[in-house]
Amino acid sequence: MARIEIDGRFYDVQDNTNVLSTCLSLGMDLPYFCWHPAMGSVGACRQCAVIQYKDAEDTRGRLVMACMTPVMNDMRLSISSEQARRFRSDNIELLMTNHPHDCPVCEEGGECHLQDMTVMTGHTFRRYRGSKRTHNNQNLGPFINHEMNRCIACYRCVRFYNDYAGGHDLQVLGVHNNVYFGRFEDGTLENEFSGNLVEVCPTGVFTDKTFSAHYARKWDLQTAPSICVHCGLGCNTAPGERYGELRRIINRYHGAVNGYFLCDRGRFGYGFVNSSKRILKPRIDNQPIIAIETAESHFRKLLNAAKSTIGIGSPRASLEANFALRELVGEENFFLGLNDTEHTLLNTIIDLMRHGGIHSPSLREIEQADAVLILGEDVTHSAPRLALSIRQALRNASFAMAQTMHIPLWQDAAIRQLRGNVQSPLFIASICATRLDDVATNTYHGSPENVARLGFAIAHCLDDSTPAPFALSTSEQSLASSIASRLKQAKRPLVVSGTSCSCLAVIQAAYNIAKAIPSKDKQLTFTVPECNSVGLTIMGGKRLQQAFERIDNGLTDNVIILENDLYRRASHKAVDLFLETAAHVSVIDSLENKTTEKAQLLLPAATFAESEGTLVNNEGRAQRYFPVYPATEAARGSWQWLTSVMEDPHWQHHDALTSACATTLPGLATLIQSASVTEDAIAGSKIPRQPHRYSGRTAMHANIKVSEPGPAHDLETPFAFSMEGATTHAPPALLPVIWAPGWNSNQAINKFQEEISGHLRDGDTGIRLIEASGELPWFDDIPTAFEPEPGLWRITPLPNIFGSEELSQQSPSIRERQPLVCILLNPMDAETLAVGTGDPIEIREFAGATTLTIHAQIEHTLPRGLVGVTTGLPEFQSLQAWTQITLKKANPELQDLSEVPL
């Protein structure tokens, strides 16, 4: 701690940071550009100048850059002295000499850090009359616009893109007053976190291209706190709506989960909400019907007429929706809707999280790890934001070194230039090359069982009472022991595994390793495929296969399917049979898919943007999302459809479902803390979803009706679809829009944190449902090594950030980034088959009927005997993981295969 004096007042503050960060933590307004709370200081923009005095007598002082000045006890500073103000205002005037002053046509306008800082410094009059340098802009792909003339050369973009996110294709080009931030040539930004440039750039150089297509000012967007639905990490988001359409997604700060950044799937995946595949009207026997009541009574009739009804839940539906279904059909008739593999893997993961005794970390905790082992995952593709956190964890070795040299940890450029570029160890054992290989200490590529065997060997090296795999090659053995010794030395080692390679042994090996690591502060985390995989599994229920059996045995005749495309989970034959055998199939979903095609009764579900619910992320954190705008047409929250046919009106409120979830299901008991969020918040007044400058309210529907319609009522959440009401009593975690006087950009978040980059005041959102306890015995079911069988290959799904996830797959911008539809082959296998990249190849299921002709692509790191396919692409739906296939070169002339992505 230190006592410092700023403009004659005394403050007790932390002494491990810099003056800028301290002033902001104290709630003061001090302008800055190049400093970023997650990226530290480089002192490049000269905007944060303050006066520092030598001692109590000094009256002159000297200008220092606040972001480069460490806080020290007894220091005397002035923000408001005339010289400091003058300097800051002159500095911004200089930065602006080349700026085009085009705010009215700039998409950053209204949430622009440059506007905010300009106003803050009082630079209100433009004196520069010279010509301005201009640049050509580049086409940077489907996500990001480029308008280089607006650049003030703060270098934040390249520091984020290269240093923080590990990208290479965005650089600073040129020199002195003619610098250009762009690519070598036009082309898509390759990094999976490029969307953050929109928020990182303090000006309008990088803006959201998907938003441009239907742009609205920040102050005209209606917003509510939300959770990303596109993977299992549960990043917090702020989606914005105008005219009944979802317009964009930006980051919503969470102190423990996503911090300041999202991945591109999470930011640009929202397009599915507006997609033409949306189901907006109920359908009975494929005939659209208008009245909700007709659909409801038909639904009720089916339920009453049924001999028995079973419900199939979903890992992408909220806890409340799944619980409502479970209540409706009864516990014994509730099926989780996961296939056997998913079911087993997820149950094992939950069991390990609960009873394995090893802490399941948040992303923030992951960034503290000082050695990382990834077993069987390409995290950039399976849990993208986690990859960004792992990159930061690797810096801990250089932080430790900096500390011994007395370099403060926020001195970003200094630390990045430490000799030898020291880095904490990262080991990746995966099926083939991953997007973190560029920072890996060592990588290993093998089939899932070989990855698991390496894992068991590592565990055995750490603790010889654990079972060891036999017949390991000497290179595998020595790799295992070197990994083990690094993990042993680490203070906060982290083991990462997950469901991607559909292999139980991999998960078990990860547990053995984590358990065998001596450190008390070790962490074990698993990636899961969907936004509520963990919640659904905690809830508990039967497997999909058991539902199939129930129908087969004639024990049931009515099926309700909740937000689940069964064709993604089981063989087409099995699902066809199931849906045909059932006398009645009701499906509740938001997008058309193969399962909805088969529904006799189809009920339109609201998406995350139009309904509320609780999702549990991979860490075990239950988080709420709230409707951003009322659902259009006949769409409603799935939970509403399900409770509409229940007798007891008590169920007709969302909070009632949440608390019933908590009281009925022991694994969800702590959820009770979030059940009364609505009541508590409403005790004051409702929180407006629309900013106080929301415009056009009285006119926006005038083309339909000239009188202004009343706002839709929201009885389920603390929010109002209105601009009326106060936000002052709302905890920051419930603020729809992050805004403070003078701070219109998302960087206003500074005003709502306990300290800069800390937790939100009054707490981050969410409740951790699981805390590690107990201990489980060693797993000892070690698979034998994989031996390719001549003439046979095995399907190995590989997740892709763009394309594997069901909902974002329907987003137009994501689609443009989808990988080619092709199969990956080891070069030697390709040689045997006499195929090269781009050649068509015929796939035939060894023990089944599926055949498919597709292009081949050579992948040097893929083991022999495996065939890599992108997880979740419709083309590969019929080929589950581990399916054995035969391959044959197809006649190129007979095939009409397009090279273009879907």
Binding site: D169, F184, A433, R435
Partner: protein, 163 residues
């Protein structure tokens, strides 16, 4: 689908260039350390560094083209556009500026009928600015090819241009 295999497009480099770059590389642990030298080698043989050459060098050094471009465009002695046989670097730093470098520049441009950065019609000359050449006591100065010209006047310029 997965990481693209880096395919070093070294076809663009001549065997001599590759040999010279390799020789430089032997002095360093890290390939990227020879970025500037490699660009200079290519430029020595070809007069300038074309896009194709830049991509080839980047491939050879296992760098993204944008990374190497960042370096190439930072240094004003690496030419990313064709230049004349002789490049005239006139100093535009403070002392020379005070002593009339602007007039010298104008005179040069007029005499050769080119704008800054352009190549004269006969392919002989290109004029570019450069920072302080460390000969302030003889300002204004310029480098003409490898030769330092001191105490420049319009007459002196005419003389060395021979026109």
């Amino acid at each position: 689908m997965k990481m693209q295999n880096k395919n070093p497009r070294i076809e663009g480099l001549s065997p001599t260039e590759i040999q010279e770059i390799n020789a430089e590389m032997s002095h360093y642990e890290d390939k990227t350390a020879v970025s500037i030298e490699a660009l200079k080698i290519v430029q020595k043989h070809r007069g300038w560094v074309s896009d194709d050459c830049l991509v080839a060098v980047a491939g050879f050094l296992d760098m993204a083209p944008a990374q190497l471009e960042g370096i190439a465009t930072f240094y004003n002695l690496i030419y990313r556009r064709p230049v004349g046989k002789t490049v005239i670097h006139y100093c535009n730093s403070v002392t020379c500026w005070m002593m009339g470098s602007e007039q010298i520049r104008e005179h040069l441009c007029r005499r050769l009928n080119v704008a800054l950065g352009e190549m004269s019609e006969d392919g002989e000359y290109t004029i570019l600015p450069i920072v302080c050449l460390g000969a302030c006591d003889h300002a204004p100065v310029a480098m003409v090819g490898d030769e330092l010209k001191l105490d420049l006047t319009e007459n002196a310029v005419n003389e060395f241009l021979g026109r």
